[in-house]
Subunit: 238 residues, 2 copies
DNA sequence: GTCAATTTGTTCGTATGTATT
DNA sequence: AAATACATACGAACAAATTGA
């Protein structure tokens, strides 16, 4: 007996979907058994089953015969973001093996936010260094680093020798640097990004714009990092 | 003359795409004119046009006759995240009108991260308050707030009176609170979320898990906020 | 307000590589 | 294997829109 215009099981599915989205049923936990849900909503068990099947289709839950229905755990890597976090340390701390792969480098004129954040004039030359950071050979972060060329000429070659941004920077007398601002947004991946991050094109990427400064507070790097949203959850502690 | 297996204009499109994704051509700036690009890549103008048209199709650039081709500016609202940021203050500071709409409330057992972060036993009751926060009537944040029920019984009704979480909390003798941790991830919106946030289902949402503590450091709220990725860019200052 | 310069849009024509019949 | 159709790429010329002197 469909009272309103919408099919009953779809209404139930949306209700459950909302509860999962709001975390009311936390990730990793089991849904109440079907008879219980049926009683709670005052519908037949078949109707609940149809609704839950829809959730399973969209990958929100996984149904296991005899065990129950479980809200899909995200299984994301908690990636701490702080003034002094270094990729290498983060990954090592999680007992995984960090590696940074060289993608490309170029000399480009500063423009837009990049120029502003690096305190350069539009048109001043920058060194662009694009790298892919992996944990246990799993791509985590596709990063574009911009350095003022006047100060860091040749840093791309040094990076290819030592395989680490931090190490390469020590050759330029930068022994410590801190992250000043971090801007976070999200969008769908471009095809090249999805490929390098080994990510389905249907899942979004987290985009981080960061500014690193040296001990004197002078900006030394502007970075645009793209993180696979499936792989990481950024953690800010304050 | 297709040398390799891939079509020429697609290779050019991907090259331009990468440059835009890496911020090498910053958002809001103009692409070089077609003849210039054609010369740079050593191809005919038609070929460049086909590549740029592909970028326009995917919404990466907008082409304007007589003016040029422009990298789509994001036009996102910079949303500062700090230990003391309040939605109302942020939006007011941007000269927009903040409003919080009541969506629903419920009593739910604590579970998973929520229980851990609130330092509750699994099964202890929480008050769930789901709200939609708008700036100039534009939906920004769909938030699920969890409060320990023992301490905040009736807060949902107070919220519906005063229209603000912060104000409602003062009735419970909470005159100051700070954000302890913020976890950021991203995923595609559920149908209900897309509707409330007035967002296309093809664009992702930023998901923020937050923990707020009172002056004594006791957790008072666990929140799951879903932000329209088109509308906001989160800004962390350190 | 007009004109010239710049930039994208459109339409010819020609040649060639790829796939189908 | 040959004929046909289709997509790709290049070249040239002109039209339409925008901007700034």
């Amino acid at each position: 007996l469909r009272q309103s215009g919408v099919v009953l099981w779809k209404k139930l599915a949306e209700k459950l979907e909302n509860e999962i989205g709001a975390g009311e049923i936390a990730a990793g936990t089991r849904l109440p058994p079907e008879p219980e849900l049926a009683a709670r909503f005052g519908v037949n068990r078949h109707t609940i089953r149809r609704a839950v099947a829809a959730l399973a289709d969209m990958g929100l839950v996984s149904i296991e015969q005899g065990r129950g229905t479980f809200v899909r755990g995200t299984g994301m890597l908690g990636y701490p973001i702080g003034p002094r976090t270094r990729f290498t340390d983060v990954i090592s701390g999680l007992n995984q093996f960090p590696r940074a792969r060289f993608i490309r480098s170029a000399r480009v004129p500063a423009m837009g936010k990049m120029a502003t954040d690096l305190k350069l004039q539009e048109g001043d030359l920058c060194l662009l260094l694009e790298t892919l950071h992996l944990a246990d050979e799993r791509p985590i972060n596709l990063a574009a680093h911009y350095f003022p060329l006047a100060r860091f000429e040749g840093l791309d070659r040094v990076f290819q020798e030592v395989g680490s941004i931090t190490k390469a920077l020590t050759r330029f007398e930068i022994h410590d640097y801190t992250r000043r601002t971090t801007r976070v947004s999200s969008r769908m991946p471009l095809s090249g990004e999805a490929e390098l991050l080994q990510q389905p094109i249907g899942k979004p990427v987290l985009v981080l714009e960061t500014v690193n400064v040296d001990e004197t507070g002078t900006p030394i790097e502007f970075g645009i990092g793209r993180f696979a949203s499936e792989a990481v959850q950024l953690v800010f502690e304050t």
